[in-house]
Symmetry: C2
Subunit: 311 residues, 2 copies
């Protein structure tokens, strides 16, 4: 799957993943209205609105980006109907041949991580049959519990040729509270470097053609740290959130890539899916929010290409 | 809700939470058989088996324990049907007046943690109406992203009088890989202490009568660390997993409690719910697995009481 991701990035020339994080305030009024007319102002109505919104965006971008990253929290907040649309979105994106990164940030002790890994990347046994609960291509994983929280995911990834992105340095303002603390028995280097070294090591166990199936999450908002982490994890893809809305800009991104122009994939969520709300894309009008998203992807691709050319 | 938990612990004299982590290998054959006869060997069949299994156990223990802790991963692995049974289990346990701790270990950047908090502890807005997606009393939270990953949970807890347990030192063998690392700018004390101090601080913002709505998770498998963390977090309840199957024993537990005999709640999962598979409780027979669970709770209560008496 990491080979597929790399191939698709080369083919589209867009190291971009679109975050499908559908907050209701992004969903155009007419989409909400139609869904509420059919299902009422209910969890089912909200879920239907999100589904129609996602579908329109995916239909407009699937041929120009390699991957999407649905953030499960935005679905989980609507309970079971929300999670049904998470699944529907994952399945639809896979039909469209997009690589699907489930942003689930799971992680637990061994036997519990096994269950998460089976549910999101693998298969679960029921009597003599096997089923997939959800079926993403990659998921994000929280490393706080150490190797026995991560290894069950890697085990399933090997069986299924799938991958993970481990949180190393997150994009949020307070990520430094614990992640930046200097580790005394690692020459005072910050925790995120220690975690990054571990990601490099975990990654060796499950290599694709040129990159590992085990990647890392490093926020665009911390470009200097990205530069160091790039060196620590040369064979690991870096998933970079925080571009656009969270404050990271094109020129911050160059350091996340290797010399081959690969090794990083930049996430934008509201910058793409809520493009229709930006002044820059207002001319598309609310009805054509999907086309606004496509235009925003094209602009993002140019911004990244320019940043890579200038380095 | 922390007051309710404390009251119920006093009333039952059992600082015990039963982990409802239904792995299929724990579910008696006749329960699986009946469910598969009705729904086939499908995800729905597995979910039904788990539901019948949970219900029987809850019916046998609800009057002698204050709380249950369903581990969502064990449901999530069965996809949507599994999560429907997670919800059904949460709702049923609340009907039985049990305090429900959703072991979800969520945590993300601010706006995403808001969505998780709304979905599991709070309410979500749909048009002019509000709904609860899931509706636990407490959830577990992963601290790796720092304050802005945790604060949205605390905000919702204040609105709803609910609570959280933040992972501090987990019970698994490799928890030390990152959690035990010495922090240079904290006099070389381990990361879990630094996180524990933060939990104490977060907890001050949302106090119940004598304990905070913000608690901590500290594994029974690390009693010496528990002793130190008890001092660092005097007003925070400690949720202690790892008793029984994972290796923690009664005598290890005394340090987790305050002088008032409160401040800790000990989790046992397979030790209770799969008691029927233990030689000690074999005389109940497979049909009476719920009664075996009840007997195991009684034994655990005695073990803890003895440990507290001996200190």
């Amino acid at each position: 799957m990491i080979n597929k991701l790399t191939d698709k990035i080369k083919k589209t020339n867009a190291p971009i993943v679109v975050g499908l994080d559908p907050m209701m305030k992004f969903v155009p009024g007419q989409v909400q209205k139609r869904a509420f007319e059919e299902y009422g102002e209910t969890l089912e109505g909200a879920a239907e609105a999100i589904w129609q919104y996602n579908k329109e965006i995916v239909d407009n971008i699937y041929d120009i980006v390699p991957a999407v990253k649905p953030q499960i929290a935005m679905y989980e907040q609507f309970g079971i109907p929300g999670l049904m649309v998470f699944k529907k979105t994952v399945d639809y994106c896979k039909e469209k041949d997009l690589v699907v990164i489930g942003d689930v940030k799971r992680g637990d002790i061994g036997s519990t991580s096994e269950a998460y890994a089976a549910g999101h990347l693998g298969k679960v046994k029921v009597g003599n049959k096997t089923f997939s609960g959800f079926d993403e291509d990659f998921v994000t994983v929280n490393p706080y519990l150490g190797s026995d929280g991560v290894n069950p995911f890697i085990k399933v990834c090997k069986e299924e040729k799938k991958g993970i992105f481990v949180l190393v340095k997150t994009s949020n303002p307070s990520s430094g509270e614990f992640q930046d603390r200097p580790i005394a028995d690692a020459d005072g280097r910050p925790l995120y470097e220690v975690v990054g070294e571990k990601v490099a090591k975990w990654g060796e166990e499950h290599m694709g053609d040129s990159y590992s199936y085990v990647g890392a999450v490093v926020g665009a908002t911390y470009p200097e740290m990205g530069k160091i982490l790039r060196r620590i994890m040369p064979k690991n893809y870096i998933l970079v959130p925080g571009y656009g809305a969270q404050g990271g800009s094109g020129k911050d991104l160059a350091h996340f890539f290797n010399e081959d122009g690969l090794g990083a994939i930049i996430n934008s969520s509201r910058g793409i899916i809520a493009a229709w709300q930006q002044e820059k894309y207002a001319s598309f009008g609310e009805e054509h929010f999907g086309e606004a998203s496509r235009a925003a992807v094209e602009d993002m691709r140019k911004d990244i290409a320019q940043a890579l050319d200038c380095r």
